[in-house]
């Protein structure tokens, strides 16, 4: 199994939460008890550990943590979620918007999938996306040829017409970059690398 990638969702064993440091906020323990899933973070951690984030109900409820491979009982990547039906019958706007962009992204030939609250809801079956949630997407483009950049530009034009705001991150060779910034003419761009965010010259980042 390849190591977990940022944005993968991991279901943890029942015992995993026992390893939470005593100083962890109390909401973290109760969030894990209800939904024992964490999101893989992009962060440097010692060998043998996986950097993860615990998601609570509020936007400020995010807790950085790390787990070990034996804590993980299941792993779901964003691209595994494209065909997952939602657990609840009533779909919020962000999930409807996700359904609406599926054909376009499938046809683009790039690996892609939902992240953020929509991805979390589809993976865990626990209602997470709210009526005012954005749609977060990840698209993998390890080779940024001009054909790929053209396809990404077409994707952006389509996403701009979505029912909700769409936040699309592109995984490139150097890390993750916002779709808008990748397609911008700016001199420097911000890339989230495994060693933290970096400003890189556009030409170097997209090479």
């Amino acid at each position: 199994m390849t190591p977990p990638q940022p944005h993968d969702l991991l279901r943890l064993s029942g015992a995993a939460a026992d390893a939470l440091p005593a100083g962890a906020p109390s909401w973290v323990r109760s969030a894990l008890r209800t939904t024992p899933w964490v999101v893989v973070r992009r962060a440097a951690v010692p060998d043998g550990l996986i950097a993860v984030g615990v998601r609570g109900s509020g936007r400020s409820h995010r807790h950085a943590w790390s787990v070990t491979p034996p804590d993980v009982v299941r792993r779901v990547a964003p691209e595994d979620l494209v065909d997952v039906p939602s657990a609840s019958g009533a779909e919020v706007a962000a999930i409807r918007a996700f359904r609406a962009v599926r054909t376009l992204l499938d046809e683009s030939g790039m690996a892609w999938g939902p992240t953020g609250s929509v991805g979390f809801e589809l993976a865990t079956g626990s209602p997470t996306a709210s009526p005012d949630s954005d749609l977060d997407l990840l698209v993998r483009a390890p080779q940024l040829t001009s054909a790929v950049l053209n396809r990404l530009a077409a994707v952006r034009r389509h996403l701009d017409r979505s029912e909700v705001r769409v936040d699309c991150q592109v995984e490139i060779r150097t890390g993750a970059i916002a779709l808008d910034e990748l397609l911008s003419a700016g001199r420097d761009v911000l890339v989230k690398t495994p060693l933290g965010p970096q400003l890189l010259p556009h030409a170097l980042a997209v090479r």
């Binding site: 400020s60 705001r165 936040d167 808008d180 911000l190 965010p197």
Partner: protein
Amino acid sequence: MQTLNYEFPATQVARRAVHIGVVASGDLEILLAPPESGEPPDRATVRVRTSVNGFDTIWHDVLERFFARATLAGRWELNDFGATPGVVNLRLRQAAESATTNGADS
């Protein structure tokens, strides 16, 4: 949604208006405008609009540290979508560089 206002002393003046960053989660956009006539040329006024409440102290610390070095007067508007302090720092630096050099805008 929370709005925070700060003011810092400044010795330099932004040469031109810049728009840096993106509207994306974990990121922020920064609009920096040079002081208009009638506005003090030695103050940086900073307005932060953030989607994540309760980080006033961290914002103050990050901004104070930045404006202690880059003392650039003007109106700074930060629209934050849950950026980490590391990302905020990089974007602030990018905005200051763009506003003081003749390089390309965002």
